[in-house]
Symmetry: D2
Subunit: 260 residues, 4 copies
């Protein structure tokens, strides 16, 4: 399944971090349900802080469910994770637990990362606070991380400028739901909606045909036409930035899959 | 279809606002693609600011696609919208256009709101900046807004503490995707994922059986077991807060649908 | 002392709010001293949130000592204060107590506001949390609030572009220290440094000669040449915005004191 | 003047960064004066972001005049400064220029840093944008940075719980104004008010008697009783954290000067 588009010997080594707010569910309703817009503010600002902290160290973080966030953290070591945890604890009314795993296949790395947090206690346990467990990728190689940046062909013309915003959103969402399932099941890749009509996926080493098949699947399954740029790098930022440039190439060339 | 659970004469009057960042797509890649984590930070902080501004005036805003956000703004008048627009323009590198509509059925209100923004120019036009058009709900009545707060039964035990986070997310996501489509198609209701295992919907006036049918649909379609609390109020906060309390009732009573 | 520049019968009615973080000193060193940059972040973001909340209701807030902030809150009622307190409590690891007072002379209003917070318990008491006490200005009149906006003549040419930043800062700071004492002692006015070379003062109703004398005093005492625009309004924003325009007039006319 | 308290051969090597917002003054009044509370929000959030970015790399930043901020950045190299600049430019409506200098005496380092920014253009030039010039401390030694953390003896009992907040603030402020001048003139040290009753100073290598003399000076000059903890480290955080612990020692021992 994993025919590689470059050197057949290369292999990715993604470091995945699960960020889980400790005992968040109970906190949101104690002693009374808290104002929803305060919770939304808290969640999105916490995510923004993680995006800055992890992002300016070369990593990527995705909001996922907000109380659980998934990050690709190649380049961040244990000390970086400890400091993040300390800084959140100093500035928020909640704390976070962190689990870290490394694997050629992103879902395997996240599986390990999640298990480490789960071992420390339930997401709704008041006993668990600021757990941190994981192994970290010590070396770095130029092909450690593979990132695919998808977007929807002419989303503005087809949806945003034409439909009401909820129906635009439903279309984008169905395309995303289809892609996320396919990429996870076929390749163990993790695809995240990042706003607008954009989806970013942390991938193992995949071939051009794999991406083409994914795009075809979503077109058939959800009637949404995607295109994708793919990049590789030592860090998520390097890989993702190359992927963005490749996606720009798709735009100018009118192609559906481009590698950086 | 719309059998009402309370006084058969009551009718909701939701005021919906579309918040659309002006010319955002082109901005994100000019002159070069911008760092993804900076874009994520910008988007989530803008949303957080809207959540505070709209939220402490009794409204609700949802992140939707981040470059397009949908708000229920009963209680906010034209001046409130102008000031929001001015404040964003003073503090961000981007501006926002706003369209506002009022209707008994949320999707109709959003349809009107969206059309007003679209009339002012494309989402990717560099000519359109800070458009504002709409009509506003002048009076307020205690049953203007109906909010349903759904969550997943025992999501922590079934997913979060057991599966890896991406697979938990896929389950929640598929439940959400199923619910959002159903509620929109059957009732013109707008359902938004708000983190964790929670979905908040702006609804027209619906009966207990309508909610029961929605929950059954999602259980069949996506194998996700939801429950829901429903509240009504003069503002989204009032309605949503009542819905949260009703959802707590579900939790304690072991029921699937509760009205405040 | 208070010769009025306009109708001799007018009188201001400033509503002052003291915002005091509860038990903050002990919290910053428990269980160990917390990272200074986390404290700086927490303080400045809390201030920013207050600036948005109070500011978009027409009020002004000043950072003062950050653990104690002073706001002019004409137009904000008890409910607005309660909601602010609730929202801070939902999103920060600290809570705030609020005292409110109204008087023609700002220092008197703040004296009352402070006494109300002090009566509820010490700033370093772990027993006091989210105290709120005060009376609120129910009516509003167009001359309730008087704001003076001072800046330093050609600060960029004289200091910023010429001296090292610390020596520029010392000059501005000495000018501010001189002005704050003079305005408080002579007029019961409260002057706050707001960044750059700007000072904003909440004033009682003062005459042109009073402002001229203040400027002369600072020139003599600290060798810093100020100019000032003065505005009056129903809210701090209205008064302050008029004062900004008056200060622009000083700039274009080359004058030292302008009333809006 | 600089009798050292430790090894007479040691010498500090502070790396100072001037952060100056480009053309900020004109921007604040173009095309019309902008809402003051929006400017306050922008300034304090920019500072908070710098505090996080610089702080979690071991540096310290002080708000100073907000449009000009001073940072001690030992441990941050040119790439770190470039990335900071890029990230601010991506997320704010303003940009920043940065100048960096290194010297045993902080004021000399800042003098160099400031001159580099000034050489690139006026603070109010629309031509200058995102200038970056400086040299960086390549090695690190354990005594590169010396930080003194001052606070006021029993500020809560003497001021906060007794006087109105503005008079408390005046007292603290006068103590700070006296200390900042003295430390700059006598030692080339840079002292910054950081909120509450706290002042943090970037110092050259000073002896116990130097600190004692500074405290005596402020007691005489401004009638404010300070105490101080002093720490040394490879980074501002290390030095400052040691200083905090030393200040805690003063508190428990009842002493006025403690070295870590």
């Amino acid at each position: 399944m994993c025919r590689r588009s470059r050197d057949p010997g290369t292999v990715t080594a993604a470091q995945l971090t699960l960020v889980q707010i400790d005992n968040y569910g109970p906190w949101t309703v104690t002693p009374e349900p808290r104002r929803e817009m305060d919770l939304q503010t808290l969640q999105s600002r916490l995510f923004a802080d993680l995006a800055q902290y992890i992002g300016n160290r070369g990593g990527y973080v995705f909001f996922t469910r907000f109380d659980n966030m998934v990050a690709v953290t190649n380049g961040l070591d244990r000390r970086d994770h400890e400091l993040l945890q300390e800084s959140v604890g100093n500035r928020y009314p909640v704390t976070v637990s962190l689990g870290v795993g490394v694997d050629a296949v992103p879902i395997e790395a996240l599986e390990t990362a999640t298990r480490r947090v789960q071992s420390a206690g339930s997401a709704q346990s008041s006993d668990r606070s600021e757990a941190l467990a994981g192994d970290f990728r010590a070396e770095t190689a130029d092909d450690d991380v593979s990132v695919a940046h998808f977007d929807v062909n002419d989303a503005t013309g087809k949806y945003t400028d034409r439909l009401n915003e909820f129906d635009s959103f439903i279309n984008i969402e169905q395309g995303y739901a289809s892609l996320m399932r396919y990429m996870r099941e076929e390749h163990g890749a993790l695809s995240f909606f990042v706003g607008g009509d954009n989806v970013i996926a942390a991938c193992p080493d995949l071939a051009r045909d794999d991406y083409r098949a994914a795009i075809d699947h979503v077109a058939d399954d959800a009637d949404v036409q995607l295109k994708v740029g793919v990049g590789t790098g030592a860090s998520p930022h390097d890989a993702g930035y190359a992927a963005k440039h490749a996606l720009e190439d798709c735009r100018y060339e009118g192609t559906l899959v481009e590698f950086a």
